[in-house]
């Protein structure tokens, strides 16, 4: 995953984009991805993900900056010459053509001979297990089937880069998980580079080599899924990825390894400083719910403890989810595994919870 400059396949270089000349939808985007990487752009609605994808595909021009593909600036190359495969959110299968004609389209415009064409179409259809649907019209296919055809069509002309804009957005959960798996498998098997857009974080985490978290036109963090989850670099990422408990406070002491934070309720806790600088700064302390322990027997050495009151206990089968009041925060969630020796808490119960200072990250407020 080395992202050395010379082997960057796609490169956004200080790209900015404004539609109306008043607001920047994309602000100073710098992104490099090597060949074969599966990169996901994740972010809330309106954060500029589609815009980035469209600039890469050539349907929007950057207001400023450059986009390079394989080392060549593509700012002035029209979309049809970029050779980038694309899967659209609504699939955009041509309704007046059959599945086979849809797949033949990119081959025909490339003047590929009929026999080659047929072979490629069959191969692409087999790849997505839709070989027997060649003569159907898109309207005669289910959502999942249309999705596969859209994928096959984007891959049939063997592009090196494939863009997908929320391709699974319209599918139900089960089908979605199946397709996530199939898309990643295909991408890795074919060795193609994929830029994938979604606002579903589970999708992003399970599918990608790296995830770029977008907010407000900027990449908030670009990292592998585990890094993103374990080591969020700012409070937006911490909040956005996975479930997260936040406690507000002020920095009292700080050095490279450790920060002492005084919570608004008065307690002092030890945290790992991430993007806080100096004493007196406001901070958001982030703790993942599954890193919090209340069972004294399991509490690790060096764990930091706080008093808590149980507000709600939800049995979720494999997990227990408990809502607590901690340091004045009524929405403090902890998740514990349903193990034989695990105690079930009762609302109103007073308990003591604890976590390791490494799991407690002091982020910007």
């Amino acid at each position: 995953m080395a992202t050395a400059n010379e082997n960057a396949f796609v490169k956004f270089d200080r790209v900015q984009k404004s539609y109306d000349g008043e607001t920047l939808v994309v602000k100073d985007l710098n992104l490099e991805l090597p060949k074969g990487e599966f990169l996901t752009m994740l972010g809330p609605s309106g954060s500029g993900k589609t815009t980035c994808l469209m600039m890469l595909a050539g349907f929007e021009t950057p207001t400023h900056g450059e986009i390079l593909l394989d080392g060549i600036s593509i700012n002035n190359i029209p979309p049809h010459k970029r050779g980038i495969g694309m899967v659209f959110q609504n699939y955009a299968l041509f309704p007046h053509m059959t599945v086979a004609e849809n797949l033949a389209f990119p081959l025909e415009v490339r003047n590929i001979s009929k026999s080659d064409r047929e072979a490629k179409i069959m191969r692409a259809l087999d790849m997505v297990e839709m070989g027997s649907f060649a003569s159907r019209r898109p309207a005669q296919l289910s959502g999942g089937q249309q999705q596969r055809i859209a994928l096959a069509r984007a891959l049939v002309f063997e592009p090196e880069l494939v863009l997908m804009d929320e391709p699974l957005g319209a599918l139900d959960k089960q089908l979605r998980e199946k397709m996530q798996f199939e898309i990643t498998n295909l991408a890795h098997a074919l060795g193609i580079t994929v830029v994938y857009v979604t606002h579903d974080q589970t999708e992003a985490l399970t599918m990608s080599d790296r995830v770029a978290v977008f907010n407000d036109g900027r990449i908030q963090q670009l990292a592998s899924p585990d890094q993103l989850y374990e080591e969020p670099e700012n409070s937006f990422v911490a909040q956005f990825i996975g479930e997260n408990n936040t406690l507000h406070g002020e920095i009292r002491e700080i050095n490279k390894k450790k920060a002492v934070v005084q919570l608004d309720s008065g307690q002092l806790i030890d945290c790992k400083p991430v993007n806080v600088n100096k004493v007196g700064d406001r901070t958001c302390v982030s703790i993942r719910p599954e890193r919090v322990e209340y069972n004294q027997k399991r509490m690790q050495k060096g764990a930091h403890t706080l008093k808590a009151e149980v507000l709600e206990f939800i049995y979720m089968g494999d997990l227990f989810r408990t809502r607590l009041r901690v340091a004045g925060n009524d929405e403090f969630i902890i998740k514990t595994r349903n193990a034989p020796d695990q105690t079930r808490l009762q609302p109103g119960q007073e308990i003591e919870i604890g976590w390791l200072p490494e799991d407690c990250r002091a982020l910007d407020a």
Binding site: F59, H80, A92, P95, H96, A154, L163
Partner: protein, 562 residues
């Protein structure tokens, strides 16, 4: 047992079969729905369905001949025209009285006009005959007044023929004759007169002087009911003298006349004696004396040919054919115009439709793809023509296109055309095409626009991302999806164009007029409503056939108006 239960109807909670209670519930809904649409339904019925039905009916309706000359039509049934023999005396007799009666009621010119559609010149025969038909009667009236002065008084006739006047005639009243003559009047005038006029023909007279009785009865009814005058005063119609002379010279009636008794018998017998050595009245000679055209077998042929109450003749005329004795035949060269007009209408409508597609497509595309603010402005421009009067727009084209008009002036000023060689771009097909394309353009743009609006831009993007150039993406992906809009617009424009009237009338000259202008001409100028109706019916049929063909080829489900 189980079998029976399965065939038993399912019952609703109150024991009524479910089907029944469902249909009752549905009926109420339907009634309410019907009530809601009834104003529109009534309106459409009155203003659309009925007139169209009436028009279709008029195109085959032809009872005018048998209404105005009923007896002639009956008499002609036995006549077999062969090109040069005239019909026999009975036909001339019937025709004489029919024509006389019609002329008095001022109906003969209508028939003349009707038959003139089939044989030019026949209307003047009718018109002239109408004027001359009372001459023979006048001469006879003079002769009779010479025999006895009382013949010139209407009162004399009343006393003679009216069974109810003084009771001088024995044998009672001939109610059958009375009813028949009343029907004759009603049929001629298209009325429904009823009621007693204080006259009933004497049965005895009806036997002795049948023709005179008949004509007098008709006359009395005509005066009392149609003219609202006292038939006992003044003079009687000339036809009665002719009828009387006929009776008096009829040898078959001599005995009956001689056998008459009573106070008036003497008058009749005296006159009969005076007429005894005269030859029997010849209606053939009478009619030929009125107008020599009655000696032309063609005239009778025309009457016979067009006497049925329903005719396909108008439809034949509408396609430049006519009815002949040998069946349908092509119209003479100089009367062939309608087929040409139909062809021209179709051809020009097609050209107009195609021009509308070519001009409208880019505009519709812009409308659908520009940012909302700009496209709204453009939409206003497209709709602008709807807000100005059609007549104003057409007249504006006249100003633009005429020889001294804006376009020619500009071209001359630019030196592109010579001053003495100005372009003829109006009062011909070109002018019609230009003006109508302009007027019908919105009808093409709007359906195309609403279809294009539903095509997501992602299709074009998808096509381009797959490697298609702008043109290929448009032609292979966008265009096929916009075809339903083109179809809808084309149907609309074509059907509107095919029946357009006002614009071709103003800018079309003679070269650029449509079939609808011909229909208008027949409705308002030549008054040949039957032909107009037949042309209209054919136009309607053409539209329906085209619609059907379109449905077969493109499928009407594919037509989207939005």
């Amino acid at each position: 047992m189980t079998d029976q239960s399965s065939t038993q109807p399912i019952l609703a909670a109150d024991g009524v079969p479910l089907k029944k209670s469902l249909s009752r519930a549905l009926r109420r809904q339907k009634m309410r729905a019907l009530l809601l649409i009834s104003p529109l339904l009534i309106f459409v019925m009155l203003t659309f369905i009925l007139p169209i039905g009436n028009m279709l009916f008029r195109s085959v309706q032809n009872d005018i001949v048998s209404n105005i000359m009923p007896n002639t039509v009956i008499a002609l049934q036995d006549w077999m025209p062969d090109g040069d023999t005239l019909p026999d005396e009975t036909v001339f007799e019937a025709a004489f009285y029919d024509l006389f009666v019609a002329a008095k009621a001022k109906e003969h010119t209508k028939l003349g006009t009707r038959l003139n559609y089939e044989q030019t010149g026949i209307s003047s025969t009718f018109r002239k005959s109408g004027r001359g038909i009372s001459k023979p009667g006048k001469a006879l009236a003079k002769d009779m007044a010479g025999i006895d002065k009382s013949w010139s008084k209407a009162a004399t006739f009343d006393a003679l023929f009216n069974a109810r006047s003084g009771g001088t005639r024995s044998g009672g009243a001939d109610t059958t004759l009375l009813r028949a003559q009343r029907d004759r009047l009603n049929q001629l005038k298209g009325k429904d007169y009823k009621g007693d006029i204080g006259f009933a023909p004497s049965l005895e007279m009806a036997m002795a002087l049948p023709m005179a009785s008949r004509e007098y009865t008709y006359w009395a009814l005509f005066m009392a009911l149609e003219k609202d005058k006292d038939f006992k005063k003044g003079k009687v119609s000339e036809a009665i003298y002719v009828a009387l002379a006929d009776d008096l010279t009829n040898p078959a009636l001599a005995d009956r006349i001689a056998g008459l008794t009573g106070p008036d018998a003497e008058l009749i017998q005296k006159t009969a004696a005076a007429f005894r050595d005269r030859p029997r009245i010849s209606y053939t000679d009478l009619m030929l004396g009125v107008n020599e055209n009655w000696g032309n077998p063609m005239v009778w042929e025309t009457i016979k040919l067009h006497s049925p109450a329903y005719t396909g003749g108008y439809f034949l005329n509408a396609v430049d054919m006519r009815k002949t004795l040998e069946g349908p035949a092509i119209q003479p060269e100089n009367k062939q115009i309608l087929i040409i007009l139909f062809q021209r209408t179709l051809k020009m409508s097609l050209i107009i439709t195609v021009s509308c597609i070519l001009l409208g497509y880019p505009v519709a595309w812009l409308l659908a793809n520009l940012p909302v603010r700009v496209s709204n402005l453009l939409m206003i421009l497209v709709l602008l023509p709807f807000w100005t009067s059609l007549l104003v727009r057409t007249s504006a084209w006249k100003v633009m296109l005429q020889q001294q008009g804006v376009i020619n002036e500009v071209l001359v000023w630019l030196g592109i055309v010579a001053d003495n060689n100005r372009l003829e771009i109006i009062n011909n097909q070109f002018g019609t095409i230009v003006a109508m394309t302009h007027i019908l353009l919105p009808f093409m743009i709007l359906p195309m626009y609403s279809v294009m609006q539903t095509i997501p831009p992602s299709y074009m993007r998808a096509a381009k991302s797959l490697g298609a150039t702008n043109w290929t993406a448009f032609w292979r992906v966008y265009f096929p999806q916009s075809v339903p809009g083109i179809g809808a617009g084309s149907i609309l424009v074509f059907i509107l164009a095919i029946g357009y009237y006002i614009t071709p009338e103003i800018v079309g000259g003679t070269e650029g007029v449509f079939i609808s202008n011909r229909i208008a001409y027949h409705i308002s100028s030549s008054l040949n409503w039957g032909l107009a109706a037949a042309l209209g019916a054919i136009l309607l049929a053409v539209v329906l056939v085209l619609y059907w063909a379109y449905d077969k080829i493109v499928g009407i489900d594919n037509v989207k108006l939005g």
